[in-house]
């Protein structure tokens, strides 16, 4: 499954041993800079560098990485198309009065605006992929704890994280069982099968919850959850690389100013 795939890659990636905060700084810093940027150039620059790091340093398969982008890019394209058509401007290239007081137009401003949004999506996606492909959730839990996030919240997150995979497994099994008996052969059948699937998943998770309490009680649960407290120290070269990357990106954000496509 998809989410398992991401975790799988994160567990084995080439940047696994780099300090968690460093990776988070690089990822979150890029997202912030993407949002601050008013030009389309800086997000593309950051996307290129982060993708390079994902492909070359973390050694993620290029095909897998490209597949991750397909769905968000499709979504972004549709949204950007909407933005371009709806945003007005002075220099009109094309216009269509669809309804009174609601013209659809393509203008210089709308194209530039659309381009910036589209590039921000690419930059932001690369940054998110960078975090999720290089930092396993378990490392993020440790970071949360060190950042003084309340223990209850972290515990809940950990139990949810663990349960997602079990529930997902069960849902897949039920789904296959339905397919095997032609559960999704017609539209009507599909709706019925999907409803049954949801019901079964609910019962399964209820059951799993009961067992969870039992399993925790059997091991003397007293409100404590151990954490794998170790985090790698910040090493020189990666630290320097992240600093240079962020400073360079910030400089480009400032320098590029309002440079637009057309």
């Amino acid at each position: 499954m998809f989410e398992e795939l991401l975790e799988d890659i994160a567990q084995k990636n080439g940047l696994r041993e780099v300090n968690t905060y460093l990776k988070l700084t690089a990822g979150l810093g890029s997202i912030l800079l993407c949002l601050l940027s008013t030009s389309y150039i800086p997000p593309l620059f950051m996307a290129a560098l982060l993708s390079g790091a994902i492909l070359l340093l973390a050694r993620v398969n290029i095909k897998t990485y490209a597949e991750l982008f397909i769905f968000p890019l499709w979504f972004a394209s549709v949204s950007v198309a909407g933005i371009i058509l709806i945003t007005g401007g002075n220099e009109v290239f094309w216009q269509w009065d669809l309804l009174p007081d609601f013209p659809l137009s393509i203008t210089r401003e709308s194209i530039n605006r659309g381009m910036v949004v589209f590039c921000r999506v690419i930059g932001g996606m690369s940054a998110l992929c960078f975090i999720s492909l290089t930092t396993p959730m378990t490392d993020i839990f440790t970071a949360f704890r060190q950042c003084r996030v309340p223990a209850v919240v972290i515990e809940l997150m950990m139990i949810i994280y663990r349960t997602i995979f079990i529930l997902m497994d069960q849902i897949i099994q039920i789904y296959y069982a339905q397919i095997m008996r032609l559960g999704y052969s017609s539209y009507r059948e599909s709706i019925h099968s999907f409803a049954t699937l949801c019901g079964a998943a609910f019962i399964a998770s209820w059951d799993a919850g009961d067992d969870l309490i039992r399993a925790m009680d059997a091991r003397c649960y007293d409100g404590k959850f151990a954490l794998l407290g170790e985090n790698r120290p910040v090493e020189g070269p990666p630290g320097l690389a992240v600093a240079v990357f962020l400073i360079l990106s910030a400089a480009i954000v400032i320098m590029s100013g309002n440079i637009s496509l057309i």
């Binding site: 799988d8 139990i159 994280y161």
Partner: protein, 400 residues
């Protein structure tokens, strides 16, 4: 005989939906015993197991642990659960934390151990089940057998006296099942009382000290496995099957080939019966030698050179650490389960064999070989590869 650790007196329990789960059951379990609860689905095995650590409170009757009635208040239950470890049937339901380390550390952390002690307990438990290096792995990325081991490690980390397993081998492949049974043997050898529930008669027959056959919430029969499984009537009632060896022995007996004697528990016992029957005892021909190697000592090089001089020798490994070392040294293993018996069989054929095992299990090899020697009158020599010689001479002396 060792003292009683768990005792049930007239236990009864009714499910919330009204069905009788346990009806007036009484029995006791002694320290260091290996007990198998066998019976069909719905016989009440799991319910009974859950009473051992106070997960289920009987409606009537009392459960005693270490001769004290179990109390059901919070602190007494915590104490009880520290001493009676419970491993659920489905490891996915038992493993609660997102990494192996965190899961194994769950019990010790909640018992209030310091961080240092928790780390020690986890390291020891993972070492025990042979999962060193798995600390940071998430449970959904490891195999079924490994998950089972993580679940066991999670309980071992609390260092309980009694270990209760609900269907420990369900869902595992045959070699995985055998490995788990051997791990249970190893734990028992270290002084832990082991109670399991299972349907697998063949697996449990040579393993258990005592078998308890259950049906419809009652105990059908409770005895040593030869007797408990040797009664076709109760075996049929409990929806089980007679173990093949026992059935073969009974058939041979019916035909007058065998006299009433000790029933065979293992292939080795059966061979002995058949050889006695045919009058072809090999006691005068030359037997092979069993060499025992202690893997707790640092002896990789010695072992490799010793083995390279003996290409055709059969090698068996007993215990998780021994198997691990064999893997590290790239030694291919011929036996991984029932190793001592298989090596004795080899020795009887005049072939030599090597057993890799840990310090604590070495005594068992000698004990088993001596016991076999006394029973069959055949002398098989066991020699150490690297143990301190003075400790072993005594035993070999009694053998030859």
């Amino acid at each position: 005989m060792s003292s009683i650790i768990l005792e049930a007196r007239n236990l009864s329990y009714r499910y919330p939906r009204g069905m009788d789960a346990i009806c007036d059951i009484s029995f006791h379990i002694r320290k260091k015993e290996k007990i198998a609860l066998v019976g069909p689905n719905g016989a009440g095995k799991s319910t009974l197991l859950m009473m051992f650590n106070g997960m289920i409170r009987p409606d009537s009757g009392i459960m005693l642990f270490d001769n004290q009635p179990i109390l059901y208040d919070y602190s007494s239950l915590r104490l009880l659960r520290k001493r009676v470890g419970f491993v659920l049937q489905n490891p996915d339901r038992q493993i609660i934390a997102p990494t192996v380390y965190q899961d194994v550390a769950f019990g010790p952390t909640n018992l209030g151990y310091s961080e240092e002690e928790v780390r020690d307990a986890v390291t020891r438990a993972l070492h025990h089940v042979g999962l060193e290096g798995f600390e940071r792995r998430p449970p959904h990325q490891i195999s079924g057998g490994e998950k089972k081991r993580v679940a066991i490690a999670g309980v071992l980390a609390m260092d309980p006296d009694v270990l209760v397993f609900d269907e420990p081998t369900s869902g595992l492949d045959p070699s995985g099942s055998e490995n788990i049974m051997e791990l249970l043997d190893e734990l028992n050898n270290e002084g832990k009382t082991i109670i399991i529930s299972t349907h697998d008669v063949e697996l449990v027959y040579p393993w258990a000290d005592r078998a308890i056959l259950m049906l419809g919430g009652k105990i059908l029969q409770e005895d040593i496995p030869e007797v408990a499984f040797g009664n076709p009537e109760s075996v049929r009632m409990a929806h089980l099957s007679v173990p093949t060896l026992l059935e073969l022995h009974m058939e041979l007996q019916k035909r007058g080939f065998l006299r009433n004697g000790k029933k065979p528990r293992t292939v080795l016992d059966m061979m002995h019966c058949i050889e006695t029957l045919l009058g072809k005892s090999r006691s005068h021909s030359s037997h092979g030698t069993i060499t025992v190697c202690n893997v707790d000592l640092d002896n990789g090089i010695l072992l490799s050179t010793w083995l390279s001089a003996r290409k055709d020798i059969s090698v068996g490994a007993m215990g998780t650490r021994a198997k691990q070392q064999a893997e590290n040294l790239r030694i291919s293993l011929d036996f991984t389960y029932g190793v001592i018996d298989k090596c004795i069989l080899k020795a009887l054929l005049g072939e030599d064999s090597l057993i890799l095992t840990t310090e604590s299990m070495i005594k068992r090899v000698y004990k088993r070989v001596v016991a076999y020697g006394e029973e069959s009158g055949m002398i098989i020599s066991v020699q150490p590869l690297n143990s301190p010689p003075e400790a072993v001479n005594e035993t070999t002396g009694s053998l030859s």
